[in-house]
Amino acid sequence: MKVARALGRDEEAVSVIVAAIMLMAVGLMLVGNFYANYAPILGREDEMVHMYRVHNQFVGVRNSISTLIEAQDTEIELLVGVRMGTAGRAYQGIGRAYGYLTLDPQRSSVQFNASYPVENVDATKGNLVFESKNMYFPNQYVVYENGGVIVAQRETSSFISDPDFEATFEGGYINVTFSSMTLTGDLSTVGGSGSRVVKMRLVTGSTEENYWTGNGKTLEINITTDYRHAWIDYFSQTLVISGFTQLAAGTRPVNQGEFSITSTGYGLWLQIARVNNYDNMKGVIDINLE
């Protein structure tokens, strides 16, 4: 109080200083507001666009593998680039997102059985996974396995590009077709925020046709996967749209047109009753990440 009294009242000159301080305060508030609100929106937008790009690039991987199998050509290698992250905007305080791309030739298997009597038809395995490390947008896994591309975010997953699976009634017969891929190569992971290249080459490709007369057989498809929600939803929707009747999980289908899907600790188990014709296009693709 004594100090205040000593300074005394002065009505001259201070208004300009106050105005300058106020102007600087307004400026700082604007800058603070930009970094607190606008920059995260920009960052989220960049990361969202990047994730769409990765989705498209994985669909490109899927299409390239399908092309290799259809062409049955082991001498041409197809390349697809995968952008691992965003460029960031350092000048706006927005960091770079990055990611990891992993080829795991032992992950995610598919096994077919035609039961009664049990008969192992085939097994394939391997998947390619992109794991994002975003700063603003929710992290996602983008996965290629068994001919389809899955996007997993938090607890859910769904297909953005369906596998080649079809089940139809034709003249009282049930026909099922499925393309399954084995991805070979070294277990490898590449990371960063630039572009990486997925090199794909066909090792072998063939179509196996199975035909069972009379009441056919119950076709069992065991899928080991980390993304069972996507597979369960996909099989359920595809088969119901095709006119099949879904039974409760764990129920064995007996009559023509029935199927059931059972979730297991490792993935899922699809059973379709009285299948007469099962065509399985198989491909073994050598993958190399650079």
């Binding site: 001259e12 000159a13 092309t67 001498e75 041409i76 390349l79 460029a87 905007r89 000048y91």
Partner: protein, 282 residues
């Protein structure tokens, strides 16, 4: 002469001083932005553009390979390519530009066995940047591969479909020779996005199972401006394919305009030849 005297005044100047000080602060902030912040911004834009250009060339290569693999003659695929970086008039951040050019008669290649010419290809697509902040880069698609050149150095960014492998003493040499033929617009400059339309015109393939002693050698000669890059690529491909030093020879000519790889005693030589029409659409 009347002497000019300034009047003593205790009031009023503080406003002027404060305004000048504020202007000084503003000018120093603007100067800092112009000298530090904007170059970082522009450099990031150009770096992103370089990554995009590499992706576009990878997509171009992949599309042409896919067309050859599918053998769908007269079908067209489109690859988009943005010639310049993002930028804008704000504070004078200029957009870097680029030049895209189709070279019909560049980069010839020829495949021979021991006695005769088997197949050949030619043509290249060239993209050169005109950056303000980063070093300029040049992307060059030739013989099915993409070469990236920066300064004095160049690397095989995306390898062509030339495979040489040795399994149990059997050497397999397979190559896809691509001829690029310009149709209509064959060059583009500026900052805009250009569509590169590629159409497969013809494709043929031959497989030689070389049984005759003395007729088992395969030789591929490539005319290029990047002889060192191709020499390194061929050498690494042969070594990675399991060939011994005596199984192959890579030669550069003295003039430095071609590279030749000779692979001895090939059990199988598989060659494809494709003609692809290229058109730029602005």
């Amino acid at each position: 002469m009347r002497k000019f005297r300034t009047k003593r005044e205790d009031q009023g100047v503080s406003n002027v001083v404060a305004t000048i000080m504020l202007l000084a602060i503003f000018m120093s902030l603007l100067g800092m932005i112009m000298s530090t912040y904007l170059p970082a911004w522009a450099r990031t834009n150009e770096a992103t553009h370089m990554l995009d250009a590499a992706d576009s060339f990878l997509m171009l290569k992949s599309n042409i390979d896919t067309q050859i693999l599918r053998s769908e003659v007269d079908t067209t695929m489109t690859t988009t390519m943005t010639l310049g970086a993002r930028g804008g008039p704000l504070f004078g951040v200029g957009r870097s530009s680029g030049s895209l050019m189709m070279e019909d008669f560049a980069s010839n290649n020829s495949m021979y066995n021991s006695t005769e010419l088997m197949m050949r290809g030619k043509g290249a697509i060239n993209f050169t940047t005109n950056n303000y902040y980063l070093d300029n880069q040049r992307f060059h698609y030739e013989h099915g591969g993409v070469i990236l050149e920066q300064g004095e150095n160049s690397v095989m960014k995306f390898a062509p479909n030339i495979h040489i492998r040795k399994n149990n003493n059997d050497i397999v040499f397979s190559a896809t020779l691509i001829t690029l033929r310009a149709n209509g617009v064959d060059r583009a400059q500026g900052t805009s996005t250009v569509a590169i339309r590629t159409t497969l015109l013809t494709k043929e393939g031959m497989t030689y199972l070389n049984q005759t002693v003395g007729l088992q050698d395969a030789k591929l000669r490539i005319y290029t401006a990047f002889t060192a890059t191709w020499t390194q690529y061929f050498t690494e491909t042969c070594q990675a394919g399991g060939l011994a030093a005596g199984d192959f020879t890579v030669t550069e000519n003295a003039a430095g305009n071609w590279v030749e790889i000779l692979v001895r005693d090939c059990t199988k030589t598989a060659i494809r030849q494709a003609v692809v029409e290229v058109e730029f659409e602005k």
